[in-house]
Amino acid sequence: MQAFIIPIAAAVAIALIAALLLSLAAKFMAVPVNETQAAIRAELPGANCGACGFAGCDDYAAALAEGGDVKTNLCVPGADAVAAAIAAILGQDAEDVIEQVANVRCSGLCDVTKPEMDYQGLKTCAAAKGLFGGPGSCKYGCIGFGDCERACPYGAIQVCNGLAKVDREKCVGCGMCARTCPQHIIDIIPDVKRVYVACSSADKGAVTNKLCSAGCIGCKLCEKACKFDAVHVENNHAVIDIDKCKNCGLCAKACPKKVIKMYPKPQAKPVVKVG
């Protein structure tokens, strides 16, 4: 009889002591949880993209909960819905998120450019750029090995026919692709701006014309066409000042190479949650 009473009693006693210690620890060593922060964090999409300027969603939530000058509309992937939810939690007026999209400044599809070499190295843009600026004839355009595709958490950018293409429906404007691109030809622009220049070549017009039949030749017709002083040829290619651009599309009509392009009007996007 006694043979099993002692071990059971010992186990129960140990369990009681442990339970007591744990409850004491929970009381005195508790980490204060900011409920506001937790609530905000639950609203954020969780992509940890860094578009808000903070080191991930947790950091942004913490900064918001602490108060101060942090804006509630910084979460680009979350868009208006998340901004409204955060504003509601914090008891502030909701501000619209300026929706952003990625935009590739290149139109060098495989059929308009020529390869300069038979590249057999690692299939990443960063590696290919290290060898004579990439295997293509144009040294400023998209290399097309898809570093951006691998970086995108939303599957919104894909390389097809040698050129990265953004799916504006899926893109939330987090900027991961723009930070990864070794050619620095991906811009993050407000979604409302629909006119863009699909070329970044700094070569002179005649050289560009030889290397890529779709490149900007710096003819300045767009400059003359623009009524708002928004388009200028800088570094041998047209650049649109997005603050001045009114989406009129006159430059796109004037462009002889059709390198200035226009997107159709954007529609409201659903919030995408990751993970």
Binding site: E116, Q120, L122, T124, A126, G130, L131, F132, G133
Partner: protein, 432 residues
């Protein structure tokens, strides 16, 4: 004996088709395109203008930075243009284009330098424009700029472990006495008591020549090195000849060594004797599409296409390598100019140059067995794919010297060396 004293490496096929061939001077090209960056260090700025008449040996580019080497005209003629364009290093640099008048007139001021002290010697080396001719192109003036007594061993690199290349071998046979005189000059002015010459055992004639001409000089010792790649790498040859270990973050100075290539020493001796700076370089032209593989002496700035025309081609090359097949760089076009550090042009056809298809790593460990630096390339490759910078640092990725032994020994044909290069760039970027 206990532990092996030798470093690891790989046994590569030698293919030294041009062994024993003399060095043939190339005819003067119509135009030379002399890049202002032909070395590791600060770029030079042109000191001539378009329309200037220049002569052989005339200074055309200089820099006042410590690590740099002046550039001289390799032909006599007129400066046609100063252009910005892509050089063989894949960067956009300034080049001076000189149209040759075919006379090859020497500059009147080309006279042997007067050397009375160490400062004079360092200045003379600087003026000679000589860089490390084994392939790296480190300015020699940077190497010899030391205080006497800091360095006690001069290592002369005659290993030439890369396949195909035989130009150092040819130099060792043709200019043995010049090399020895050059070594003695360096030893005298830098007050270095001893010298080790390292030559791979596949060049017995060169070893015999040195032994014969040195006639038992106790200060200069000729070492017969095993035939293994990369025997001619700086760290490897220091270890194999002196037993000293240049560990990570150290340079040969730290262990009291200076390493010089045999051709560099030969060029230095020529400069000390004649005063003619580095205006041409000898190189091997080989590969399975070259009609007459040979060693040629090429004026600096000659386009690759001119050299290939001189040697003849059986068919259009699919791959052109500058340097050896292990560490050389492939170039996409044949209009790049030859620079001081090029020691070979190799041309191959498509069947020969085709990269074999990559398969999965089978963890055989041959890359580890082949790495002379004792790294683990397969692990580095995995850490690189995960972009794990901490792991890469722990694996000492920066210690890699890009010899390519790992890629060569991999049965899965993984491009390990390429991945390690990218991994090094990643770690360097994270350090900033």
């Amino acid at each position: 004996m206990g532990l092996s004293r030798h470093l690891k490496g790989v046994h590569v096929k030698h293919s030294k088709n041009t062994a024993g061939m003399p060095i043939i001077p190339m005819p003067v090209p119509e135009r030379v395109y002399i890049p202002m960056v032909q070395h590791i260090g600060a770029p030079c700025t042109p000191v001539v203008k378009v329309g200037d008449t220049v002569k052989v040996g005339q200074l055309i580019g200089n820099s006042d930075q410590r690590i740099s080497a002046p550039v001289h005209s390799s032909v006599s003629g007129t400066v046609e243009a100063i252009t910005q364009g892509m050089t063989q290093y894949g960067r956009v640099d300034t080049s001076v284009v000189i149209k040759s008048d075919g006379k090859q007139e020497l500059l009147d001021t080309v006279l042997p330098p007067e050397i009375n002290s160490l400062e004079d010697f360092v200045k003379a080396v600087r003026n000679s424009g000589i860089v490390g001719l084994g392939g790296a192109g480190f300015p020699m003036s940077g190497k010899v700029n030391i205080k006497p007594g800091e360095v006690d061993v001069l290592v002369i690199n005659g290993a030439e472990c890369e396949p195909y290349i035989t130009v150092d071998h040819a130099v060792m046979l043709s200019y043995t006495q010049d090399i020895i005189d050059g070594i003695r000059a360096v030893m005298k002015w830098l007050e270095i008591p001893q010298c080790h010459i390292g030559i791979e055992s596949n060049k017995p004639d060169a070893i015999a020549r040195f032994n014969e001409l040195l006639a038992g000089d106790p200060a200069i010792k000729v070492h017969t090195l095993r035939q293994i790649y990369p025997q001619g790498a700086e760290r490897v040859i220091i270890y194999e000849t002196t037993g000293r270990i240049v560990s990570y973050g150290m340079i040969p100075w730290n262990v009291g060594c200076i390493v010089m290539n045999v051709t560099s020493v030969m060029k230095l001796q020529h400069f000390l004797r004649t005063g003619l700076p580095m205006v041409s370089r000898c190189m091997t032209v080989d590969g399975n599409v070259v009609l007459h593989p040979q060693n040629v002496d090429v004026p600096i700035g000659t386009p690759i296409s001119d050299v290939l025309e001189f040697c003849g081609l059986k068919e259009e090359p699919k791959k052109i390598l500058l340097g050896g097949p292990m560490m050389g760089r492939a170039v996409p076009r044949d209009d790049f100019a030859i620079v001081k550090a090029n020691n070979a042009i190799l041309c191959f056809n498509e069947a020969f140059a085709q990269q074999r298809k990559e398969t999965a790593c089978i963890n055989c460990g041959r890359c580890v067995a082949g790495c002379p630096m004792g790294l683990m390339p397969a692990k580095i490759s995995r850490a690189f794919k995960d972009k794990d910078i901490e792991a890469l640092k722990e694996l000492n990725v920066l210690y890699c010297m890009d010899c390519g032994s790992c890629s060569y020994s991999c049965p899965a044909r993984k491009q390990l060396n390429f991945e390690i290069k990218q991994a090094k760039a990643l770690v360097m970027e994270a350090k900033k």
